[in-house]
């Protein structure tokens, strides 16, 4: 069972890294890039359980450790 988790800086929070990448792309000539946000991507391999429980588990993992909800949002999918 595999979980794929995306953790992103919340929309209203400053994302200096995204801004630096945008400027970097612009200086490489990609000036059509309007907005960049940089987050984390986490892939977990879980001992297989039922999908429902897995979802609930991953949700808790995100809340407890993988995302910092003060400044980050997360979303995830679970597949077997």
């Amino acid at each position: 069972m595999k979980a794929k988790i995306i953790v992103m800086p919340r929309a209203e929070v400053l994302d200096p890294q995204g801004e630096a990448v945008r400027q970097g792309l612009a200086s490489l000539g990609y000036d059509g890039v309007r907005h960049v946000r940089v987050g984390r991507y986490v892939e977990l391999e879980l001992d297989s359980t039922e999908d429902m429980t897995a979802s609930a588990t991953v949700q808790r993992m995100c809340e407890q450790l993988l995302a910092n909800e003060v400044i980050e949002d997360f979303e995830f999918s679970v597949e077997s």
């Binding site: 630096a20 970097g24 940089v38």
Partner: protein, 230 residues
């Protein structure tokens, strides 16, 4: 001796490099802003200093390698010119493809600042020609991403052609996992290119070049490059 020190936005050891080249080695130093398109004429050595170019955003050195000056640094290196990258400078040289491999996050995921022993692995380089092989130098490191990675065959290639400059070791010169501060492949702390004119190292020799500071071992490496009399 004319030394050009490149300042990227976020460089923070550029002043230190100027200062040591000038006041310890009597070199003439030239400040080069990263937006310049070419290095000044008559430059003998180019130093890419430590720091956090572009805030280390995305990957260390990833954005700096596209700074306008880098094209001429690549040309300069291609003509056989001497280039030294220290810490962030090493990271930039790897990203720019002037040196093989990459520097990833320290195994501990923590920044490490301390003086560490490193062993001289070759004397076939400008930096180390006056030292003995196996000599242990104490030089500070200060980095978050100093964990040298290269594919196995790349590392073997470096070893086979004697391109490894420095390895992390114990004070007694033993290279082991216990003496590896950051997880680097084969304890590698510094390397050079196959042309033996482009050097990269995580330790900061400029921080170990004057008696009142942590040690003067770094001076011996820089002396090889800058030719100053000690």
């Amino acid at each position: 001796m004319n030394v050009a020190v490149v300042t990227f936005p976020g460089s923070n050891c550029d002043d230190d490099c100027h200062y040591v080249c000038r006041s310890v080695f009597g070199a003439t130093t030239i400040q080069v802003w990263h937006k310049e398109k070419s290095l000044p004429s008559g430059v003998d050595v180019v130093i890419l200093p430590g720091g956090f170019s572009y805030g280390d955003y995305l990957r260390t050195g990833a954005l700096a390698r596209f700074s306008p000056i880098m094209e001429d640094v690549v040309r300069f290196a291609g003509r056989g010119g001497t280039v030294l990258g220290i810490c962030n400078g090493f990271q930039i040289l790897c990203e720019a493809g002037l040196l093989p491999g990459a520097l990833i996050r320290n195994q501990s995921l923590r920044f490490i600042c301390e003086s560490v022993p490193v062993r001289v692995e070759t004397t076939e380089s400008q930096l180390t020609s006056a030292l003995e092989k196996g000599r242990v130098l104490h030089i500070p490191i200060a980095h978050m991403d100093g964990n040298y990675f290269a594919k196995e065959d790349t590392v073997r290639g470096l070893e086979d052609s004697d391109q490894v400059l420095l390895r992390y070791c114990t004070s007694e010169g033993e290279v082991s996992d216990a003496s590896n501060p950051n997880g680097s492949c084969a304890n590698i702390a510094g390397i050079m290119n196959s042309g033996r004119n482009v050097f990269g190292m995580m330790p900061h020799p400029e921080r170990a070049s004057e008696t009142p500071l942590s040690s003067i071992d770094g001076r011996e490496l820089l002396a090889g490059l800058l030719g100053g009399s000690l």
